[in-house]
């Protein structure tokens, strides 16, 4: 029990530290919300003084002249109570929760799905190539994917765009989450459009993420295959397929699981570069926009979400270890 309590206490302290950083780091960025706003509206020929914009922003709850510690106290309170305020950037006045609510499904859908897919695919390939060590699959697939996983996201993205999305009638679209002009709804046209728009960004994540899973799974497989119980299973004449998945694969899979939990935690931050290159209106893209327009409330809420997601996943992982590993229990 002490182990669990200690973990919970650690969770709370880490969260507080992260939230403190989340408050101060955006405020240390160069630039200010009124400058960003001024820059943006000057496009239409509207000349508004920074002082006036500050008055406007004050209406939306932005008050930089207030004591910073007081602001910090209010910030902590509002973060905990869920009153995240309204955007003071590009979507001036829109509640932060609405903005995030709009973007979250797209990121969860795109990045979440492709992370799960990458994990599943990587585990499968790793299992097979570990089983047939030195075979054709083992000789070709892992090296190829290890190379691709070392490539940066944006490079893969740009290569994919130039292969599939260039010219007048591109095979696949390179922007946005669905065809502009479609009304979101549960109909074939819309769903098809969403899938088409998701292929390239998802492909980018898949190509760069799958290599890591293949490598670790393959190596785990090799270690497990040397275990006595696998030899025993063979001696008993159990079918190969069953040994591969039920005996070796199942045990090799366990260490990978905790890594997977961690990477799920990072899904929420979106893959900023992927969403940026493909203009995919998820959290990553929103992150970028919020930074550019020095949108403190939105930045704070996004940071909080990312922190929470990672910490909760780590916590769950700890609990899982507690349940699965007797040593963790006795040590505590």
């Amino acid at each position: 029990m002490r182990f669990l309590l200690r973990r919970l206490g650690f969770f709370v302290i880490t969260l507080w530290a992260a939230m403190t950083l989340n408050f101060f780091i955006p405020r240390m960025m160069p630039g200010s919300p009124e400058e960003a706003l001024r820059q943006r509206i000057s496009k239409g020929g509207v000349v508004v003084t920074p002082e006036q914009l500050r008055t406007v922003l004050a209406e939306f709850g932005f008050d930089p002249d207030k004591n910073i510690l007081l602001q910090y106290g209010e910030y902590l309170k509002s973060m905990v109570t869920g009153h995240w305020g309204v955007s003071i950037g590009g979507s001036l006045g829109t509640p932060v929760t609405t903005l995030i609510g709009d973007a979250l499904p797209w990121t969860l859908g795109l990045v979440g799905l492709s992370t799960v897919l990458a994990f599943a695919l990587g585990t499968l390939i790793g299992t097979i190539s570990g089983w047939r060590r030195g075979g054709l699959i083992d000789g070709i697939v892992p090296p190829v994917f290890i190379v691709t996983s070392a490539l940066p996201y944006f490079l893969v993205a740009l290569v994919l765009i130039s292969l599939f999305a260039m010219g007048n009638n591109p095979v696949l679209p390179n922007d946005f989450n669905y065809q502009q002009g479609l009304t979101p709804g549960f109909n074939a046209e819309f769903i098809l459009s969403v899938i088409k728009h998701g292929i390239l960004p998802a492909g980018t994540i898949l190509i760069t993420a799958v290599g890591g899973w293949i490598l670790t799974m393959r190596n785990n497989m090799l270690t497990t295959l040397a275990e006595d119980y696998v030899r025993m299973a063979r001696a008993k004449g159990i079918p190969n397929r069953k040994i591969m998945f039920g005996y070796a694969g199942r045990n090799a899979f366990l260490p990978n699981l905790s890594g997977f939990a961690m990477s799920l935690g990072f899904v929420i931050s979106g893959t900023i570069l992927v969403e940026y290159v493909f203009n995919y209106p998820g959290l990553g893209y929103m992150f970028y926009n919020a930074t550019v327009s020095t949108d403190y409330p939105l930045l704070q809420a996004l940071f909080l979400l990312v922190t929470l997601a990672v910490l909760i996943c780590v916590l769950l992982c700890d609990f899982a270890v507690f349940l699965l590993d007797p040593r963790a229990r006795t040590k505590g």
Partner: protein, 570 residues
């Protein structure tokens, strides 16, 4: 990709084209006018058109729509003003500030120009059927007094507005001093809102932050539906201009990036663009004979030298003169801006838009009409620089503004030829702003918005009250120019008559030549593309009845009431 988007953002607004300047159009302040159609729809022959058709706008906002239509919220008024809300009087920057009566059918200045009487148009209805009256106008202006956050143009604080009162159909605005330069703001940029809506509920308690999802206005269009991806406007059936608008619908999709917007413009899927399109002839114009573009110049893009004595080189007049003489602006325009932005001149008066104010003789007399590298070299020598002691300068610019980078590459070459080593520092937007505003730079490359006469841009750039000591944020005079004679000219402008105003601007232009507080290179333009396959009635170079880009407010309202569909005429 992203880089290009930022380019469009740099583009400022306001003004242009020789065609209208100095012609028979009424300049600001010369009182009343009568029929709105007379000055607006000349392109189509002035006749009425049958209703129908849809126009789709492609203008990158970089984010999805928040579906808010509060005309006082500077982040969203671009989709509210002109579409739903209308000003008292439209001021056409492209025709030297010619006025078109909108919600006010006429106006009269007092002789000292410190008070103005608007005659409010009768027979106008709000889109919910309630009648519009002088009360609404008074309410709108007084609301801005009660809520300083709504007063975007600081009318009550900066412009000296003291009272707004109604008597019958007349509304009187009184000012502390001559207020003619603010006419552009209070008559043209303030959208009038309905009292019966804004005096109740959330609109009354929090007018600045109110989302206003279903706006009620007097404009030609109303919001039919809004999703984060698209706004649909539909024609206002009870619009006060008879027969207008001709179009049935306006679609305004949210484009996050230039790429899809430019593709949709090229394919004709969107017909009205406010986009920077690289290599536009090839990418856009060649795709269809019906694809057209026009880039009216609006303001200056300039090298900002830091005039504070703590910056020794740039505060030396000879150095600034040397730079101004060394530049071949035609070349910068041609190579750096692909010719889309024309070359600027040292007087700071944008031509041909403001030719009336442009003193070509003074420019030629000073030798700034063409590049003069020899003179530049002499000046540098006189300032103590030589090949053994070369002048090294840093210039800051904004990363992602690719056309500016190209321009600066040309500038660098031209300056190298006279012995100045220029190094270009691409800074991220926020860092750039910080340095520029607080005066932490030697040279900066930048551009600001203009107005219906050169006064507006030059006042921002050069008026000493817009400056601040180094280390503090200046509001717009970032070069820290301080010349009492120039200040006096700006002060005198407000109450001056038309001829004196021209004279004053020329005086300021002369100071630009003498002191070189700023070195203009090219003229920033409005990006504007239009497709004539089905839609006609566009503003063109020959008929510049409004600033043409969809991001120009409230000009967008003028364009929308003049567009018509060819297929609907059959």
């Amino acid at each position: 990709m992203r880089a290009i988007k930022h380019v469009a953002v740099t583009v400022v607004a306001v003004c242009v084209l020789a065609a209208g300047c100095g012609g028979g159009d009424k300049p600001i302040g010369s009182a009343t006018s009568s029929n709105p159609q007379a000055s607006t729809s000349t392109s189509g022959g002035g006749g009425a058109y049958k209703k129908g058709g849809t126009v789709t706008i492609a203008n990158v906002g970089g984010q999805t729509w928040p579906c808010q239509f509060n005309p006082f919220n500077p982040a969203v008024n671009q989709v509210a003003l002109g579409f739903v809300y209308e000003p008292l009087t439209f001021v056409n920057v492209l025709k030297a500030g010619a006025t078109t009566p909108m919600l006010a059918s006429a106006f009269t200045w007092s002789p000292t120009k410190d008070s103005i009487v608007f005659t409010i148009r009768s027979g106008v209805k709000w889109s919910d059927g309630k009648p519009f009256s002088a009360d609404d106008v008074v309410y709108t202006f007084n609301l801005m007094k009660q809520q300083p956050a709504l007063d975007l143009y600081s009318l009550w604080t900066g412009a000296g507005l003291t009272s707004v009162t109604a008597a019958g159909d007349k509304v009187t605005l009184k000012f502390k001093a001559a207020a003619e330069p603010y006419f552009f703001n209070f008559a043209n940029q303030v959208g009038i809102v309905p009292k019966h809506i804004w005096s109740t509920g959330e609109a009354a308690s929090k007018p600045a932050t109110w989302a206003n999802p279903k706006p009620v206005g007097t404009g030609a269009f109303t919001v039919q539906s809004c999703t984060s991806n698209n706004i649909s406007y539909v024609a206002n059936g009870s619009y006060w201009q008879p027969g207008k608008p001709y179009l049935e619908k306006v679609q305004y999709p949210a484009y996050l990036d230039n790429n899809p917007a430019n593709l949709d413009l090229a394919s004709g899927k969107a017909q009205w663009g406010g986009q920077y399109i690289p290599n536009i002839d090839n990418f856009y114009k060649s795709k269809s004979p019906e694809n057209n573009y026009w880039f009216p110049p609006t303001a200056n893009v300039a090298i900002y030298p830091n005039l504070d004595p703590s910056h020794k080189a740039t505060s030396t007049l000879a150095v600034r003169q040397a730079i101004a003489y060394a530049l071949d602006r035609e070349q910068i325009s041609k190579i750096g801006e692909s010719g889309y932005q024309p070359a600027a001149n040292q007087t700071g008066v944008v031509t041909p838009t403001f030719d009336k104010y442009f003193d070509k003789a003074a420019l030629t007399a000073a030798g700034y009409d063409k590049p003069n590298p020899d003179k530049a070299k002499q000046l540098l020598e006189s300032a103590g620089y030589s090949s053994s002691n070369p002048l090294k300068l840093d210039i800051i610019t904004i990363t992602g503004y690719t056309d500016w980078d190209a321009s600066l590459a040309v500038v660098k070459q031209q300056l190298a030829a006279v012995g100045i080593e220029l190094s270009i520092q691409d800074l991220q937007q926020q860092s750039f702003n910080q340095k520029l505003f607080t005066g932490d730079y030697d040279l900066a490359y930048y551009s600001q918005s203009g107005g219906p006469t050169p006064y507006y841009e030059l006042r921002q750039l050069l008026y000493s009250k817009n400056s601040a000591p180094i280390g503090q944020q200046a509001s717009s005079n970032y070069v820290r120019y301080n010349n009492p004679a120039v200040d006096k000219a700006f002060d005198a402008y407000a109450s001056a008559d038309d001829a004196t105003q021209v004279k004053l601007i020329k005086e300021i232009g002369a100071a630009m030549i003498k002191d070189v507080p700023l070195i203009p290179t090219t003229e920033s333009v409005d990006w504007y593309q239009y497709n004539t396959k089905d839609i006609e009635g566009w503003p063109t170079q020959d008929n510049p009845y409004a600033q043409p880009a969809p991001y120009n407010i409230p000009d967008v309202g003028q364009v929308l009431t003049n567009l018509y569909s060819k297929s609907a005429q059959k």
